[in-house]
Amino acid sequence: MSERLDVRKTYKLLVGGAFPRSESGRSYEVVDANGLFLANVAQASRKDVRDAVVAARSAQRAWWSLTPYNRGQVLYRLAEMAEARAGELSEQVGRAEGTRAGEARASVGRSIDRLVWYAGWCDKVGQVLGGQNPVAGPYFNFSVPVPSGVVGVLADQDSSLEAFVDAVAAPLATGNAVVALASEARPIPAVLLGEMSATSDLVAGALNVLTGRTGEIAPVIASHEDVDGLDLTGADDDFAGELGALAAETVTRVLRGADPQDRGLKRLRAFVETSTVWHTIGQ
């Protein structure tokens, strides 16, 4: 009997609920913290960004039209999926970041806890960020947080899972759709989270995960007119400045310098707009 061949995995993009290779057909090698080969990963091109934004735009309406409670359940299910594959995530986080097994497991545990935390926020942001305004007349005046729309995320380059979870779960919790560019050197845990999202009842296209060269892809996301918000965590100061200038062309909301360790509401606040509604009191 012949020896069994390994089935090696090529990590694909997540665009519109499907897992395509890059439109360009390119891929690149990812190595672990010690420089040893890990896997081949799809290298996205500008056309993949275009496809992802189109998918995100149509998914955003469907995602936001769910009840906040339902969105919370979906994010919670994503946490369940991640919990079931925590072993695989830990191994990949450990190899990517060069940390010991125990430390990697703890990091994955924190990531999953953060998902649950954001899941809980889905039906609470309205009460916390919105409210009833005092008016001098016989009517109500409400402020309601609504999602910005499509949010581009440049994920943190070092923290392969924890920071990624924060960066994508926060805009998802407030009803945005996300086009995320994973860390260039450590993309695998992010891709795995994307795979899990496809079995979590998340609206196809609400989360899109691209992998590739940050220098090539980030400007395309930043200059895309149909991107409403941009999280620049993964860009250094100079590069973030350039990207911010591109984004300013179409008045894109930009989040810069968010601390990956920040446990406040900064990320939840980052990509919402306030809609003010008047209503009669009635009898």
């Binding site: 960004v49 275009r50 934004v53 735009r57 395309v220 200059s223 895309h224 007119e225 149909d226 591109l246 062309e249 179409t250």
Partner: protein, 333 residues
């Protein structure tokens, strides 16, 4: 991949592929149904697998940079901006006309579309709003889309549109009669409508989705051209299967062969289901490679579409600015 030359869009050297009618070519005069049958029977059958393979092959060709820019502008200038809904109002037609005159107000050099296509009762509205713009008014007629009415009613429908000022009339053929083999009846009807059109151009809709086979598409194309059609059009856009690349290829072969044997150039209009720039450019490649560069002209090739225009405008902006454009910055119809 063929590297193509910059604008204006001439993808091949003119003389090599130019149309050469046979010596003494002329349109045969059809005098009887028997003769018409004989003419159509003499057409060879379509190699269905070959047509589909050829269309698929041509669809892989990509246009870049200057050529793409020129092709987008050309495609825009070939669009019949269409609204054929029960809910059409004069206001809607007015806004469509405004869009036809100036598809992208932020880019003043955007070419105008070829025509606005409406139901006969809205022709006069369209005519008023398009006055002096050079954009033509097309009207569907002959009990569009099913064509299920008596000849008299259909001719009145046409007369109505022509009196209201339609520059082009899109008629539907009687598919029931064609499929039942009553070819003479279909032919006579096209001839009668041709007369009723007067100076207006006649586009004959074959409704390829209902003709089922490529052989039928080829025969119906020839029948319409022999009866005097200025254009043959794929479909109404109201049935499940509309324009496809292989069917359009078969029709383009028909107009090419017809031109070679008769010397008369007939146009083709692909309608229904073409929504993206990518698809439109594939059609242009097929037009060029099948009928020849003479057909890369709004006088001989048209797209019947509504949402296609927005995608063309988005891609046009993308070509200009380098950044992907935002759909809601363009008028939504």
């Amino acid at each position: 991949m063929v590297e193509v030359s910059p604008a204006p869009l001439r993808l091949v050297v003119d003389d090599e592929r130019a149309l050469r009618p046979r010596p003494g070519a002329s349109v045969p005069v059809v005098e009887s149904e028997v003769q018409l049958r004989a003419l159509l029977r003499a057409l060879s059958g379509v190699d269905a697998v070959g047509a589909e393979a050829r269309a698929a092959k041509l669809a892989t060709r990509s246009l870049k940079r200057e050529t793409k820019r020129a092709a987008i502008d050309l495609a825009l200038s070939m669009v019949d901006l269409t609204t054929l809904e029960g809910a059409d109002t004069p206001g809607r037609v007015a806004s469509l006309c405004a869009k036809a005159r100036r598809p992208d107000p932020e880019e003043p050099d955007t070419p105008t579309v070829a025509a606005v296509c409406v139901y006969p009762d809205l022709v006069s509205t369209a005519k008023t709003h398009l006055a002096g713009s050079g954009v033509r008014v097309a009207s569907v007629a002959t009990a569009f889309p099913s064509g299920r009415a008596s000849r008299a009613v259909k001719l009145l429908d046409v007369a109505d549109a022509v009196v209201a000022g339609a520059d082009e009339v899109d008629m539907v053929i009687d598919r029931g009669a064609f499929l039942a083999g009553r070819l003479g009846e279909v032919f006579d009807e096209v001839v009668a409508v041709r007369e009723a059109c007067g100076p207006a151009h006649l586009k004959v809709i074959l409704e390829v989705g209902e003709l089922v086979t490529y052989d039928n598409v080829r025969r119906a194309s020839w029948l319409a051209m022999l009866a005097g059609a200025d254009f043959i059009k794929t479909s109404t856009g109201k049935v499940a299967v509309n324009a496809t690349l292989p069917t359009t290829l078969v029709m383009l072969e028909a107009v090419r062969d017809f031109a070679e044997s008769t010397g008369r150039l007939v146009g083709v209009k692909a309608a229904g289901g073409i929504r993206t720039t990518k698809e439109a450019l594939r059609y242009l490649v097929v037009v060029n490679e099948t009928a020849g560069s003479a057909w890369l002209d709004p006088a001989l090739f048209r797209f019947g579409a509504s949402s296609l225009v927005n995608d063309l405008l988005l891609q046009r902006r993308k070509q200009r600015s380098g950044a992907y454009a935002r759909p809601d910055r363009i008028s939504v119809d």
